[in-house]
Symmetry: C2
Subunit: 196 residues, 2 copies
DNA sequence: GTAAAATTAGACACCATTGTCTAAAACGTC
DNA sequence: GACGTTTTAGACAATGGTGTCTAATTTTAC
């Protein structure tokens, strides 16, 4: 409800009705609307974080085909963390009510994109160490990877349309291809060109 | 005011006070709040579009040093169209009230990012024609360019902090470096590596 | 089965906001 | 300077929301 209508747009009455509970019960649990709101946000954030780390752990320790593995990973990432309801809610929230709730906002920044960024950077560092990538700044590369994955989906997510599996796939493939061209060692790219 | 507080958050009284005008005058001009709102949005959109096209026209017809020109262009783009108040407003708006005003939303989609995307794609097509870039899908490249430029700034813009000129510059340089590595013809990259 | 705790429906005061109305004031034009 | 138009301040009803209260009902625990 907060997701769909924002903080002021969601009335306690509607929320209570949606929860099949009386308004008074809501007030019994959370003294006031703000408490309910922050509780919801924190819950959504925790769930999103959990989802994020399970997704991160799916990346194979010894990549078989780096490009394909990265594509599959990007698909899972956007599917689980970016295009789902929670992710959209959080981004929307931060944008619309971020200035009103600075501490929520800060907490999101550190637990959300902050964590995903550092975790991705660590993954890339491992891949560099194995000679599969050539990256000078891991943090920049991580941000760019996320940005590229989002590039094709941004319009859809803003639109409120959840992209189809096929759109997700091509978006991921476009992103990874560009990423690999920019960050794969020369011989890997040469090989890719030769096989193409 | 709509920008800072959203549609419902901004009261007519406050708006009238800010405009140094009585509430009744507002109602005389725009029969109701929604009309005022859509008028504001359209005005902001028009201004943003004008700004965008003047920015696009600054790109040199015969690039001297492509990488530097792209960096300068990216800096101007983020400065004029992405990080300024209007751009932030529009993104925020689309995200928070997009579902409530589908026609506004659609109009934004076509006149905002739609136009910037196709215009950028056209620019890249010219650069490819001159042999300065090697791109298979112009639209994808345009979206990726924008995404990369935003990659380092997203956090700042969400935070509400306007990045310093130096941050803008490094963000643009990171973006363009990756973009060039992915899309510059082999000999250009080889040259860049040699000179580095 | 009973007592304590939680939940419910509904009424309520309170507040902010929208949009209307009116009479007075300011403005512009000739 | 006079007349038509616009603006203004303030009052006003209507609406919809928050948070409180109460008395009745249900659930839970023992």
């Amino acid at each position: 409800m907060f997701c769909r209508q924002g903080f002021t747009g969601a009335s306690i009455d509607e929320i209570a009705a949606e929860a099949c509970v009386s308004r008074q019960t809501v007030y019994n649990h959370y003294r006031e609307k703000e408490n309910l709101f922050t509780a919801v946000v924190e819950d959504v954030m925790d769930r999103a974080n959990a989802m994020l780390f399970t997704t991160l752990s799916t990346f194979p320790e010894k990549p078989d085909n780096l490009e394909d593995d990265l594509v599959a990973f990007a698909v899972r990432l956007s599917h689980n963390c970016i295009c789902n309801q929670d992710g959209k809610f959080l981004r929307k929230l931060v944008l619309s009510e971020g200035e009103r709730y600075p501490h929520l906002f800060e907490s999101w920044r550190q637990h959300g994109p902050g964590k995903i960024g550092t975790a991705l950077a660590a993954l890339f560092a491992r891949l560099v160490h194995k000679g599969l990538l050539q990256i000078d700044d891991f943090d920049v590369a991580a941000r760019q990877f996320l940005a590229l994955v989002n590039a094709d989906l941004q319009m859809n997510t803003l639109f409120g349309v959840t992209p189809t599996e096929a759109e997700l796939e091509t978006a991921a493939r476009n992103a990874v291809r560009t990423f690999m061209r920019a960050y794969a060692p020369a011989q890997v790219n040469a090989l890719a060109v030769k096989t193409a």
